[in-house]
Point group: C2
Chain length 343, copies 2
Amino acid sequence: MTSPQSARRIVLAARPHGEPQDSDVRFEEFSLPEPREGQVLLQTLDLSLDPYMRGRMSSAKSYAPPVEIDAPMVGATVSRVLASRDPGFAEGDVVLGYGGWQTHSVESTTHLRKLDADSAVPHTTALGVLGMPGFTAYSGLLTIGRPQPGETVVVAAATGPVGSAVGQIAKIKGARAVGIAGGPDKVAYLRDELGFDAAIDHRADDLAEQLAAATGDGIDVYFENVGGKVFDAVLPRMNTYGRIPVCGLVANYNLTSLPEGPDRSGALMGVILRSSLTVRGFIQTEFAAEQQETFLSEASQWVADGSLKYLEHVVDGFDNTLDAFRDMLAGRSFGKTVVHVAD
Amino acid sequence: MTSPQSARRIVLAARPHGEPQDSDVRFEEFSLPEPREGQVLLQTLDLSLDPYMRGRMSSAKSYAPPVEIDAPMVGATVSRVLASRDPGFAEGDVVLGYGGWQTHSVESTTHLRKLDADSAVPHTTALGVLGMPGFTAYSGLLTIGRPQPGETVVVAAATGPVGSAVGQIAKIKGARAVGIAGGPDKVAYLRDELGFDAAIDHRADDLAEQLAAATGDGIDVYFENVGGKVFDAVLPRMNTYGRIPVCGLVANYNLTSLPEGPDRSGALMGVILRSSLTVRGFIQTEFAAEQQETFLSEASQWVADGSLKYLEHVVDGFDNTLDAFRDMLAGRSFGKTVVHVAD
C-alpha cells in the first residue's frame, strides 16, 4: 500500500461554551508526513469517543493540557499499519494507537499495542471493555472502591463502557450492583442482560425514592462518573466509611457557569466528615503501570466466560464524529461510542 | 471524703440556632446517685471543651447521637475519685473520665484511665496534646495525610490543640508546616514558638496571596478542621494526589442556613477529579484500637523532648463554661480550652 492521496482531520476551531457546536471544530484535508525511523503510517479504522475529550476542549486546569486551537482532537484509535519504519510492525498489522480525530496518522511505535489478529473479540474492544474505559472501571473500583462481598455498589451512566464494567466487576467480586441510566431500554438492559441487582431511570421523578428502595442497607461504594442530580440522590445514602471513586462528572462538562445557589459545597464536606467518607479523584493512567497487565488478563477471561459483557454504539462515517460525540455527552447513545472510519 | 452536699450540671435546654445562647442551656443542682458495683463517684477538676460538642447540641444526623434536651452536655474530664466501688480505683486517684458539663459524676470504671500522679506534665494534657485532640491530629495526619519528607502540610486553627499538633507532627516527619490562625499574636506564636515554616492570619485581606507565597510548591496535605474561606483559599493550591483529612468544619457549625450561591459543590468535585485528590472524613475513634497505645508512647516522648509543644487556655470556674465554649467556637481563645472546675 502507498500513502493515501489525502487525509482528513477534525481540528478544534474554538473552545466550546456549553455543548460543542459545529463551529467549534473544523474539517480539514492535510498531507501526511512520511514516517521516520521508529514510526508508522496508520489508517484509522475505528475512533473512540470518550467524555474526557470534552475536558481537552477546555482551557481549564486539568490533569492533561488542553488541545490547542487549530490542532486535531485527540483520541484512541484502532488503526491499520499502511507503512512501517519499525521492524516490529508490518504493513497490515492492526494496532491500538492514539490517532486522534483523523482518518490517518503518523505515530511513533513506542505507545502502540499490536492487536491479536485471531482474537475471539472484535478489535474495537481495545477501545472499550478491554481498553481505557474498562481499565478505568477496574482500577478505580478495585483500588479505591474496594467492594466487599455483600456491599452495595452504585454506578450511573451504567450502560456506558465504564459504568457497565463497574457494575459487572462489582458482581464478580460478590457485591450488589445498582445501576442508574436514562430511559426504560437502558434500565431493562442493565437488569435483564447485565444482571444488575437493581436498575433505576434517572429521569424518574422519584429517583431518590427508587434509589432508597434499591439500597435498603445504604450505599458502600458510589462510582462517580456523572455528578449532578444522581450524586445528590446518592450522597445522603452513603454508609459510614463509604468510598466514592471520582472518574468523571459528565453532567457538568457542558455547564457554562456555576449552578444557582445555595452553596452546598460546605454541606458536602459536612457529609464527608459525618459519614467518614473517602472521596478520591483518579485518572486510570495512575494505575496503568502496576495493574494494566493483570487487568488485561483478568478482563479478557471475564469477557470470554461471559461474566463481563459489553455493548458498542458504532456510528458509521468520519463525518458523523461530532454528532456522535454530542450524543454521547448527552446520554443519547447506548453503549461504548465508536466511530467506524474505514473497513 | 463523702459525697458532696449537692452537685451542679449544665443541661441542654434547647437546640441552638446559630451560636449557642444563654437560654440554650440551664444550670441545675442535682443529687448524685450512689456509685454501684464497678462505679466511682468523681469530682470534676478540669472539663475539656471541644468543637465536636456543638454537633452534639444539634439533631442533624452525625456519627454520634445528639445530647437529649434536659440531659447534661457531654465532655471529657480530669476528675478525682471521691468514692470507689471498684478495687482498681482508690479515693484520691485522678482519672481521665467522661464526666460531662458537671461538677461531679458517677461513672463506670470501664472507660476510665488512671493518670500518673508523678507525670512530668499536667494532668490536663490528657484532655489535649496527649488526649483526644492530639490523637485526632496524629491519626488523621499520619494515616490519611501521610506527609512525606519535603511535602507541604497546611492546617488551620493552627494554635488550637489539633492544629498545633498537626503542624508539629508534620515537622517531626520532615514535612513543611504552614499554619493559619486568627490574629498577629497567634501567627507569631506559630512561627516563633512552634517552629512552623510559615504562618498566616486568616483575617488578612490577601489570604490567598499569602498562602500562595507560603506554598510555592503547592499543598500536599491540607488537614481540614475549619472549612469556610480557608478551604476556599487552599483548594486551588492542592497538588495532584493531595490528601485532605477532614476532622472538623468549625466555621460551619453555627451556620443557620446554607450560604448563598452559586452552588460550588460540583466545582469542588471537579477539583477532586482533576487533581486526583483524596478527601477523607474521619473521627479519631476509628483509629483508637489500633493506634492509641503507639500514639501515647510516641507523643509523650515528643512532649518530653520538646518537639511537641502545647498551649492551654484555662478558664477558671464552672460558671464560665458556656462563655468559654462560645469563645472557642469563635476562635477567640488561644490554645486548648479547659475549664478549671475544682482544685
